[in-house]
């Protein structure tokens, strides 16, 4: 067992875990933060995307021990005082989801994208969500949702 201490959505958690525990399982099963989804489990789909020290990362491809000492943000950490984050609002307003399975990962990638490109072009938005698959929407409304959030900020 190894000790990990991570700050998730502003709250520090310390736990003893097996080194082979994946970060996504730590978040979902030990911290009960089930907003982060598991899609492919093979590093392709991006459903498990969270921010690790501010940068988007696939939490199914990181062991929890590798994140020891890191700050993690999940979809649960975006809304403030009961108010949706501009990206969440954008997905709502622009119909950026259908089944919603990809949405948490999509939004976390978009947070990283908007941090780097506050006024992204459509090309930059599409490149920014390159690591996230959506099987429902055809991406068009997702792009609009991210544009909505960019305009709002």
């Amino acid at each position: 067992m190894a000790q990990v201490s991570v700050t998730v959505n502003g709250k520090t958690h310390t736990a003893n875990v097996e080194p082979r525990l994946l970060l996504v399982h730590f978040l979902r099963e030990q911290l009960n933060l089930t907003g982060t989804h598991i899609g492919c489990d093979t590093s392709q789909c991006g459903a498990c995307t969270v921010l690790v020290d501010g940068r988007s990362a696939k939490s199914c491809t990181i062991f929890a021990v590798q994140a020891d000492g890191s700050e993690i943000t999940t979809i649960e950490g975006l809304a403030r005082d009961g108010r949706l984050h501009p990206l969440q609002e954008g997905f709502w307003e622009e119909h950026g989801l259908q089944c919603g399975y990809c949405t948490p990962g999509m939004i976390m990638s978009a947070v990283d994208l908007l941090n780097e490109h506050p006024s992204p072009t459509e090309r930059e938005i599409r490149d920014g969500i390159d690591g996230n698959f959506c099987r429902c929407t055809g991406y068009e409304h997702i792009v609009n949702a991210i544009q909505y959030a960019a305009n709002k900020r």
Partner: protein, 288 residues
């Protein structure tokens, strides 16, 4: 729990990592970004019993320019290479190549050293390291050595790197007139075929050309036939097109898989060689 069990240690410095590696008596396996290793461990194709994490070693990451030579620390993540102002200015082909790797999440975690050590037949960096004739710097707890990229890549996932060695950095003389052209595998974005070309031109003549090819055979290789055909030519699109036709003609055992047949890959090698050469020519024009 998906992978097999292992012990985990985090190294705080290069010396600490080297000490941990040699103390492990061969059991220690380095993990940097984990974006080649973790997927393999999840499939249980790799079952290390001890991981030594080198991702938080400060001196291992970073991009420096010194006396006209560029150095990229092995721990530098693809994102930082892709967005480096120093590289954009002096040797944009490296930044361009990093920007084609995977997707943003992969680029936020994966490192140069990990990519070179893993030597996936379809990895992008090996091609550009060959075109730049880069030096790969290695350290063990007892020695340091330098291997040229052209000697480093030896076979499928096989490089000149001992189990107790760590890649610390790559070094190369910057080339502006260089470019990378890649045929993407649509899902993972690995290279079906990737070609990096670097041109040395003076007084209106190509003095030498270096061309690295990835994705096509077991490991990245130089296209020496095309290089020889270009030497002494005028730097024109026409000369490049002519020489590019030879690309791959002397290669045997071209890869064929579900993403691209052997015939298709073979056909694409000259196409992407020509594109890489045209990209290098375009930078030549901008330069002068």
């Amino acid at each position: 729990m998906i992978p097999t069990a292992f012990d985990y240690q985090r190294a705080t410095s290069l010396d600490d990592a080297l000490a941990k590696l040699s103390a492990s008596n061969g059991a220690g396996k380095l993990i940097a970004g984990g974006h080649s290793l973790v997927p393999l461990m999840k499939l249980r194709l790799s079952e290390p019993t001890m991981l030594i994490d080198i991702a938080r070693i400060p001196d291992l990451a970073g991009i420096r320019e010194q006396d006209g030579t560029l150095e990229i620390g092995a721990g530098t993540v693809h994102h930082d290479v892709a967005t480096s102002p120093v590289l954009r200015q002096h040797c944009p082909v490296v930044a361009d190549t990093a920007a084609t790797i995977g997707d943003p999440q992969v680029r936020n975690r994966g490192t140069l050293g990990g990519s070179l050590a893993h030597a996936d037949p379809a990895a992008d960096y090996p091609a550009v390291m060959l075109a730049l004739d880069a030096e790969i710097h290695l350290r063990s707890s007892t020695a340091a050595r330098v291997v040229l990229a052209r000697d480093f890549f030896q076979n499928v996932l096989t490089v000149d790197l001992a189990p107790d060695e760590i890649i610390t950095a790559v070094r190369f003389a910057p080339v502006r007139a260089a470019s990378y052209a890649k045929l993407y595998q649509r899902a993972s974005r690995f290279a079906i075929v990737g070609v990096a070309a670097a041109l040395d031109v003076s007084d209106g003549v190509i003095r030498s050309a270096r061309i690295g090819l990835t994705g096509a055979v077991s490991h990245a290789v130089r296209l020496t036939t095309v290089e020889a055909a270009l030497a002494g030519c005028e730097p024109t699109s026409r000369a490049c097109a002519e020489a590019a036709r030879l690309a791959g003609s002397d290669l045997e055992d071209i890869n064929g898989d579900i993403h691209a047949s052997e015939t298709y890959r073979r056909a694409m090698i000259p196409v992407f060689t020509r594109r890489a050469l045209d990209g290098a020519l375009a930078r030549l024009t901008v330069q002068s």
